[in-house]
Amino acid sequence: MQEIQYLNENIWPGILGNFFVVLSFVAALYTAVAYYLATKHQGLENPWIKPARIGFYAHAVGVFGVIGTLLYILFNHLYEYKYAWDHLNNAMPMKYVFSCMWEGQEGSFLLWTFWHVVIGLFLLRTSKSWEPWVMSILALVQFFLASMLIGVYFGEFQFGSNPFLLLREHPSNIGLPWTLRPDYLSLQPFMDGKGLNPLLQNYWMTIHPPTLFLGFASTIIPFAYAIAGLWRKDFQGWMKPAIPYAFFGVMILGTGILMGGAWAYEALGFGGFWAWDPVENASLVPWLLLVAGAHLLVINQRKGTSVYASLLLNISSFIFVLYSTFLTRSGVLGDSFVHSFVDSGILAQLMVYLLFFTAWSTYLMVPNRRWQMGYAALSAVLLLLALGNLMTAPEVAAAEQEKLLPGEGTWVPVLTILFLLASFVMLIVGYRKYFRVPQEEEEELWSREFWMFIGALILILSSVHITVVTSVNVGNILLAPFEGMFASLHQSTDWEVFKRLADHQFSAPADKERFDVYHRIQVPLAFLLFIIVAIGQFLKYKKTEFKKFAGSIALALFVSIGITALIGWAVEVEAAELSLILLVWACVFAMVANADYAWRVIKGKFDLMGASVAHLGFAMVILGAVISTWQSHFISKNQRGNISELNEDFKNNEDMMIFMGDTLPMGEYFVHYKEKTKRGERVYCTVEYFEKLPKTFKEGEYVQVFGQPFRAKKTHVATESFLTDATEDSLWTEVTPAEVDAHSAEELALWTPGTPGERLFVLEPSVLMSPKGNSREPSTQHFLGHDLYTFIKHTDVEEKKADEEGYLEPKTAIVDLQTDIRLTEVISMRIDSLVEIDSLPENLPEGLIGKKAFAVITDGKQVENVMIPMIWLQDSVPFPYPVESKQFKMLFALNQKPEGLELTVQKHSSSERDMLILTAEVFPQINVLWIGCLVMVIGTVMAIRHRYKISRGKV
């Protein structure tokens, strides 16, 4: 076959890019091996250090080269590359080009790799005697990550996914007719890309992924040090240099997580900043483990204990970063998850890496040759069995495959369970034989290390819970092999639970119930944790005299109880909310105690204050989170009558309907729906907020409420609610419409709780129009004490189709005679009678018969009578004969249907007013959360600075 010469294709960036991909891959492997050889020699003056360093520099060049080339492709809009075509388009501002880079899977792996390289370049200079081990481990991880970009196919199996793939070379396009055209790039679809999801076109997408991935990447440092410690059989020496990095990871990952929360809250409309979404959980679990691990390192520096737990936690933090990536990228979460990626080749690859690092860490946790060999052999056998099974597995029809969970029907679940069991046994053996603390060294009850250890256990419990709930689908896969066993158990016992286990169709609940599932466990754990955060620093290492301790903590205890009582009094706590007020107290206690400690005990010494400041910030974050979620309330109220009566189960009273041009009271404001504008891909609803001024009603003044006239009994200033004024204070009396007519000819004003004053601010919630599906974006006004968060529940975003005369598309409904038919929010219609037509107009053909309906249309002020005819040929179906209402600009037609009389209404476009259904929610004290975040970062930086000085021997 003749080679096709494609026109205008820019091939060289792809060639260069692939060169860099291969360079980074090969150099990482070389570096790992070279550093491994360096570990065989003593000291840094050994022959392998220099070659290994050069290898890592080459790897760094490779990674930077890949990124540079990819950016070149993106900046120049080279749509012949699939990555550019998928994530970029011509219309998009170039400031989002970085966001495009890490929107895709390959790009996000690149970002992660990039941070590892930066960390590696740093460690290369600072890790001193640990360099060969730590760098060898890092290079090995890099080797695995670099392989994710290789993009080679072994038959059906895809090994890595290459960002420099040409669009025409992608498997889904091969063989399509256009790929055979030399000039395909001049075809319309290839002149422009598909673009970045508009939802991601904001500054959050620019700052959040780099921060989060730096956080993920930083877990590699404590991991590498811990593994290096096990490798050298120096179980404690690694800890001192690792501490500052562990806390650096805590800070960056924590910031990344909160930034994600802020993004979800500000732009994505999650309706809060934490939704327990699998992606959020995936970043939270490694953080919790790292926090626990970092604190245990601190204990070890003082006491030399907790060696095993320190190793385990610092290793598992990184393992859980891998697990999270696996969980969220692989499609295992399936239909319980919105943003799953389904690329099955990557699934297997990620799983192999996850298992490899789990196996390697576990292997090293038992420093005994025989156990290690046994475990390694078992793991290898299991792996070979899995591979063999997968290769010989019969093809499953695509339709069948869709119904199955990933891995179901193969040996993979059973083998995974066996592997996990073996690993678990290894960990227990390792602990009991090599790391168990002798009896006499047991910790005192009132010592700092004991309670810090308990705190670490609470963090572990918290992570286990989050992981288990998030991984319910993985649990289903692991349950699959036991289907038969549970089914027979169900038959013999008839217990429902065995049936459910046999079906293995469990799924974590969504929405409100999901919050319950998490909070039931996480709230009590957080409560215990904050008590420990509060008392921890007041306890001394080794042994504290209880009386002395009680004396020093008493102040914080009483102050926090006082503050909590004030908060409780202000928000009127209900009995059911006891757990929340207890958590609020624990947070306040932690805040006060840490501030007190910094003030009274440390006496404001800057170097030592880091921990107290960071703990204070952490307690503020959770306090702000609890109060703003718990006390959030809607100020938009449904004013469309009592709609809750429509359905007892559901109350719908948290949104407000407003027509364009109207001004309505809402909470402490008057809101005015000014206009709707389309800017770019978004449709904005401009809503102005006005101050609400008190309104005085004079004695004898008439108002109407739900169409009922009332008279003011005396001059008064209106409160928030008419009902209060009328019933509790009896300021209003109901009057007959006749009385009103006698007193006032004018139309009665609606009762309002105030009058609009000065314009305060404008909010523009929007709907984002996208071919990938529309989505709503909130608009928030920030105040010192609270946020006002507004969201469009409904509004028409499409232009309505109108005919030449301006009439909109007809709507039909079956109607009854002599009942009110609601046409718009004010106009109603009533068909009084339907009678035979005596005489038809002369110009109509013979044989027609018909009926005519007499209808009354009114908007409460004006009335129009219309006659709607209904005519048909004898023994045939009637045909509609539209009649226009001049007054209300509508077309009406009637038709006799088997189910009743069918009314067709066509409204005129000029009579349709634009409607907005808006929700407005107040989140109180959310700023405590953001300030807390800042305080926590500052405190951690202070602590890291101090620890870094210690680790370099300067203190």
């Binding site: 919105v338 047991e442 286990v464 819970h465 319910v472 609940p509 309907m657 599906g773 409607m915």
Partner: protein, 146 residues
Amino acid sequence: MRKIDIVIIVLVALIGGILVATYLNSNDKTTFSKALLNLDKQVKIVGTFDKTHSVEYDAQLDADLTKFYVIDSEGKSCFVHLRDKQGKPMGLEQSENVTIEGKMGQDGVFYASHMLMKCPSKYNDQKKSFQREYELNGMRESGKIE
């Protein structure tokens, strides 16, 4: 007994408890006909939007309520009343796959409190649009259309 042993036993017991509680409290994925046998149980149903019926939604009457039909994995179509604080789900008509969570009512209507949608993947879209564009180009060149 040493303190640390007690703590670890408590820890293991708690983890076991969490595991059991998570599975007992989770919803089961099921089908409409099975849900009919178990009326008051909160369940999850995976299916597709039924395109033969139109979506009923009246924002003025109730902005939270959307009524439509869903076909489950057994091919049974059921009337669904979805009540979602977010209003009418956007892109329902184009969705490929829906997961609804809620209870089956005695009236045979499924009362859903939550819904997840999967929209057509990029992959298929792309293939179709390429094919279409290619055909159009062919027609343009052969002079069939302007």
